[in-house]
């Protein structure tokens, strides 16, 4: 893959987190089988053959140890086991399972490594292997980084295949028939005479059989479920209001809690007056917590109302007071030393010449704002602690609980529920720690803590604000120099600090989605600058690529305009990765790019490779007087292997509209060190009457299987920017677009 593998600073994330001298111990820990967590609390009459399934008299329950945030992960993971185990689809039951190192995610660190996703060099593969070790050592049972399917694809198919072989052996023993004469279908072993033995009745005998070391997997041509549209396992519950989210937990004797903490995120707060709050109906107690206090009441609304009556002394913020000062700090970072320069091909300075084309872009903070606010229910008893919540990091939550309570981790039970959205917010466990603090102050009483929408929005760890400066040069129809500098707060540094992990930087996330793009430009450089000391930040759907996809592709578009070349043809001409070229060709084909358009209509294309997925988007807009209306979106992506075409369509469509909506309206600002936006009327989202139809296509040209929860987000905003430029001549370099233009609704 040519020059992209030329890495200047290989230590990066790996070097920063590696435990020096401890690697031998680490390797031993990695190789040691973490055991089967299901065996610890196996109900009477149940058997388990491996960490991914439990069999009882009702049939097989598949453990899908990733958190369902809407991305369809429970269905996709269940299908991997069900396919190999030959289960009937309508009999499938899924459970999130307990937190356990057995469910570590070996792929989630891949995006943080200094190797491009399409780099398959020896060094890159070795580093990815290292990421696998680290993921396990760090106890990363993590849902994120579009990594659930790539991580589970082999593991969970092998779990299903191994269990099937054990059940076949058990059936052979019991029937006295040769194993070769037996087959499986819909949760049964079929004997040679056609009679059936259910997995349920074979489970006990199968559990005594040694698992096969290398179970044989089906060839894709034999797949019954994989590769075909699946009925989601949660869809009927979600259509009838019966799905249980974190906020819906009910425990006997449960009390309800609301919290107030310092508007300056992370700073201390001292409760000075709770008298008025305590007098309110239903208020049972007021307890101090880190940064503020919690109200305990007999009803969520009563707790939320009383919270407004508390009075505090707030410690000052540890970051600048307002957005202007924050952007000034980000701009200043360009004058300091660089954090990373992962790409530096050719001689950029020389190729830029005396009159490079220059552009500066700015992106705002964004809130995650999932529709279900942060919530956790915690019950502390003398010998155990139970947590019911939707967390993307259940092991981390358990560790935090152990730290806060001094209970052994074995006495802490995390029950993972459905998440009402996340977009990365539930990778943080701040809200869980808060609920634990409250439960410690109310021993013996189950406490359900629910954040108000206002608290949720004003205490988010946002997607960072960011500035990019591009300089470029063209000759004829070619881009001869492309130089992009990106300055931003570091997500990895902020998260590592909260998790108590050492992090020395550099942070690949500052430049992810820019440095790793598969273009062949002779003089090509991407430099990252770290801005410390701003408000805490976090992973937001597509993380670094959510900003750099915009920067890199918008600047690419500007250079191609300068080179007088068509936006689709120009991108294809400069790409040196065949699957990436193919997604642009696909989206051009789908949208009849270059064909005649109605008067006042124009199109833009956007491209970004993130999480190993090349994704291209075409947006058509029309001028409606002074306003712009989005008419249609087309999006194509290559995920290597499509497990569920229906869900890939849902994620491509949803990701595109999510990306568009935030680019159009989304902005978090600070004043007096507090987030200004408090609810959905000021943090605007895309609505029905603003959402265009979306046409999708999934390609399978690359060899690796990839996840699709995030990659449609990054190319959406630049496609819209480029379409607006094509329609109006206005090059918008600062988001949200609504600061510069007005949008027309669809009807």
């Amino acid at each position: 893959m040519g020059k992209i593998a030329k890495i200047t600073r290989r230590t990066l994330l790996v070097g920063a987190v590696a435990v020096t001298g401890g690697f031998a111990v680490g390797y031993y820990l990695y190789k040691r089988d973490p055991g089967n967590p299901l065996a610890d609390n196996l109900p009477e009459g149940s058997e388990t053959l491996n960490p991914y399934l439990r069999i009882d008299s009702d049939g097989v329950t598949i453990i899908t140890p990733r958190t369902e945030c809407g991305q369809g992960v429970h269905t996709a993971l269940a299908a991997l086991v069900a396919e190999e185990l030959d289960l009937a689809w309508d009999a499938i039951r899924v459970e999130a399972g307990p937190p356990s190192v057995a469910y570590y995610n070996g792929k989630v660190l891949a995006e943080g490594l200094p190797f491009a996703a399409i780099d398959s060099s020896w060094s890159a593969e070795r580093a990815r292997g290292f990421g696998d070790v680290l993921g396990k050592l760090l106890g990363m049972q993590m849902t994120g980084g579009s990594s659930s399917v790539p991580d589970a694809y082999d593991k969970m198919r092998r779990a299903g295949a191994a269990a099937r072989e054990m059940l076949l052996s058990a059936a052979a023993e019991r029937s006295g028939q040769s194993r070769q004469s037996l087959t499986t279908r819909d949760g049964h072993v079929i004997l040679a005479d056609g009679s059936r033995l259910s997995y349920t009745e074979l489970a006990q005998e199968a559990a005594r059989i040694e698992p096969p070391a290398d179970p044989k997997l089906k060839a894709p041509a034999q797949w019954r479920y994989l590769g075909k549209p699946m009925q989601r396992v949660d869809t009927a519950a979600k259509a009838t209001g019966t799905a249980e989210y974190g906020i819906d937990v009910e425990r006997a004797g449960m009390r309800y809690a609301a919290v107030v903490t310092n508007p300056a995120i992370g700073s201390a707060g001292t409760l000075v007056d709770d008298a008025a709050a305590r007098e309110r109906r239903g208020v049972l107690d007021v307890v101090p917590i880190s940064g503020g206090a919690a109200i305990i009441a007999d009803n969520t609304w009563r707790a939320l109302q009383a919270a407004g009556a508390l009075r505090f002394d707030w410690a000052p913020a540890e970051y600048p007071a307002d957005t202007d000062a924050m952007f000034a700090a980000v701009a200043d970072a360009f004058d300091g030393s660089s954090d990373s320069q992962l790409r530096d091909d050719g001689d950029v300075e020389d190729a830029l010449g005396d009159t490079p084309l220059e552009a500066e872009y700015r992106l705002p903070y964004l809130a995650h704002a999932p529709l279900e606010p942060m919530t956790a229910t915690v019950h502390l008893q003398p010998d155990r602690l139970d947590i019911w919540t939707a967390s993307q990091v259940p092991l981390q939550a358990r560790k935090s609980a152990a730290d806060l309570t001094d209970l052994d981790e074995g006495r802490i039970h995390v029950h993972t529920l459905m998440a009402g959205g996340s977009f990365g917010r539930r990778l943080e466990d701040d809200y869980i720690k808060q609920a634990i603090e409250i439960a410690i102050a109310q021993p013996g009483v189950p406490i359900k803590m629910t954040w108000s929408r206002e608290h949720d929005m004003t205490h988010d760890f946002c997607r960072p604000l960011s500035i990019a400066r591009g300089r470029g040069a063209v000759a004829g129809n070619d881009i001869t120099a492309f130089d992009l500098g990106v300055a931003a707060p570091s997500v990895t540094c902020s998260q590592a600090g909260r998790a108590g992990l050492p992090f020395a930087g550099p942070d690949v996330m500052i430049v992810a989605g820019a440095w790793d793009q598969p273009y062949a430009i002779p003089n090509y450089r991407v430099t990252g600058y770290h801005t410390p000391g701003l408000a805490p930040v976090s992973s937001w759907r597509s993380v670094g690529a959510s900003v750099n996809g915009f920067f890199h592709d918008c600047f690419m578009d500007e250079l191609l305009v300068a080179a007088s070349v068509d936006a689709v043809e120009g991108r294809i001409a400069h790409l040196n990765d065949a699957p990436s070229r193919a997604v642009i060709e696909a989206v051009a084909d789908m949208s009849s790019w270059g064909g005649a358009l109605r008067d006042g209509h124009a199109r833009g294309v956007g491209f970004c490779l993130s999480f190993g997925v090349p994704c291209a988007t075409v947006i058509e807009v029309s001028k409606q007087g002074e306003r712009v209306r989005i008419e249609h979106a087309w999006v194509a992506a290559d995920v290597g292997t499509v497990l569920d075409p229906d869900n890939v369509d849902a994620q491509l469509s949803g990701g595109t509209l999510f990306g568009l909506g935030h680019a159009m309206f989304g902005e978090i600002t600070f004043a007096d060190a507090a987030i200004t936006q408090t609810n959905y009327h000021t943090f605007r989202s895309l609505r029905h009457n603003e959402a265009p139809p979306v046409t999708t296509r999934a390609l399978e040209n690359q060899s690796e299987i990839r996840g699709i929860g995030e990659p449609a987000v990054p190319p959406a905003a630049p496609a819209l920017a480029n379409a607006i430029f094509a329609a109006t001549g206005q090059r918008i370099r600062e988001l949200p677009f609504a600061k510069s233009i007005r949008f027309a609704i669809r009807s």
């Binding site: 979600k238 009838t240 704002a369 529709l371 206002e454 609810n679 979306v694």
Partner: protein, 152 residues
């Protein structure tokens, strides 16, 4: 205070200004209606009051003088309503948290406009936020349900 929820009578003793949503969720254990914003800006709490869609988070319980229908009152996983059935067939839900409100709002829409145009759908549904942006499938499911009703 007496309430009729999904055809069942309830007696509650709460402040008159407590929003219907919290009476449903925390006093009666009816959890299909969701808390999303508390100010009528997202529609996750939408219920039918005498057949009309209202935001339960912003409706004081003392103002509830008619029967209330929540998403649970429309159908169940084993016996979904026609709108819920269309939702299932189109696999509308991603995170699903807003879908209780979307289904209720769509049910009310089809009562008023049995054959809704895109403009009707936009007008009736744009107050119901979906952070996963499942809007194209919501539109398709509404049209499927309408088509079925027309064909009987």
């Amino acid at each position: 205070m007496r309430l009729n929820i999904n055809g069942e009578a309830f007696e509650v003793d709460v402040e008159p200004e407590m929003p219907l949503l919290w009476v449903l969720r925390d006093e009666l254990g009816i959890k299909g209606p969701k808390y999303g914003c508390g100010i009528g800006a997202c529609g996750a709490c939408t219920v039918l009051l005498d057949g009309n869609p209202v935001r339960a988070c912003s409706l004081p319980v003392s103002a509830v003088q008619a029967p209330v229908t929540t998403v649970e009152g429309l159908g169940t996983p084993d016996a979904p309503s026609d709108v819920q059935q269309a939702w299932i067939e189109h696999q509308v839900a991603q995170c699903g948290y807003c879908q209780s409100g979307q289904v209720v709002a769509a049910t009310a829409l089809l009562e008023r406009f049995p054959e809704p145009t895109d403009a009707d759908i936009d007008r009736a549904m744009s107050g119901n936020l979906c952070r996963c942006a499942t809007y194209p499938r919501i539109r398709a499911a509404i049209k499927t349900a309408a088509q079925r009703r027309k064909l009987g």
